[in-house]
């Protein structure tokens, strides 16, 4: 069964550093998403991406965040200057159409 692949599975970074979280969506999918889950809390929407541009973003997705699909297969989330409160599990998801996403297994980001 096709999978959404996320790397790395765990990333530790110092506060103020830039991090890039990587995702390889399922190959024929057209819609891409990032969500995050702070430990023990609910899954929260960050951003959706379609047709090479952001289609929607949440209040969490401020100027410190950016997304890119640099080469037609990867989909990245960049956090420019990490804060302690950015520590969370970040999930990438993709879908053929709106809804019915497949999520990846996540990247656990720990900011120290």
């Amino acid at each position: 069964e096709p999978e959404v692949t996320q790397t790395p599975s765990h990333q530790v970074t110092q506060m103020g550093q830039e991090v890039i979280l990587r995702c390889v969506p399922i190959s024929n999918h057209l819609y891409f998403y990032w969500y995050r889950q702070i430990l023990g809390q609910k899954v929260e929407f960050l951003v959706s991406f379609y047709n090479n541009e952001i289609s929607e973003k949440s209040e969490i997705f401020d100027d410190q965040f950016s997304v890119e699909r640099p080469d037609g297969s990867n989909f990245t989330l960049k956090i420019r200057s990490t804060k302690l409160e950015d520590s969370a599990m970040y999930f990438c998801a993709s879908s053929v159409g709106p809804h019915g996403y497949t999520f990846g297994s996540g990247t656990r980001l720990t900011v120290v």
């Binding site: 959404v4 819609y31 998403y33 969500y35 809390q41 609910k42 899954v43 929260e44 929407f45 959706s48 289609s55 929607e56 949440s58 999930f91 998801a93 879908s95 709106p98 809804h99 019915g100 996403y101 497949t102 999520f103 990846g104 297994s105 996540g106």
Partner: protein, 112 residues
């Protein structure tokens, strides 16, 4: 108004029993209601979904019941098995977007 309230927070069921998880919403713009299953260390996986023009949807042992007038929907797991032990999230999506708003999750434990 964008919230989805989920209960209970945790649920313990004996093998063979029925597990019932409830969700409620306020926003009448929601028109897609999926349930996700999440195992430790994995991303959420789509289990079953319903739209408000249907009051019930069944897939195998999993059934969604939907009450549009009460703005409530629930997941029933029949003949619960230890392998069903996971965290379950309800979610909702407004008609004009593909982002998901998740409930807070229910940790289900099924004992033999």
């Amino acid at each position: 108004q964008q919230q989805v309230k989920q209960s209970p927070q945790s649920l313990i069921v004996q093998k063979g029993g029925i597990s019932i998880i409830n969700c409620a919403y306020e926003n009448t713009a929601f028109d897609y209601f999926p349930w996700y299953q999440q195992f430790p260390g994995k991303g959420p996986a789509l289990l079953i979904a319903i739209r408000p023009d249907v009051s019930e949807k069944k897939e195998g042992r999993f059934t969604i019941s939907f009450n549009k007038s009460a703005k409530q929907f629930s997941l029933h797991i029949m003949d619960s098995q230890p392998g069903d032990s996971a965290t379950y999230f309800c979610a909702a999506s407004p008609w004009n977007t593909d982002k998901l708003i998740f409930g807070t999750g229910t940790r289900l434990q099924v004992f033999p």
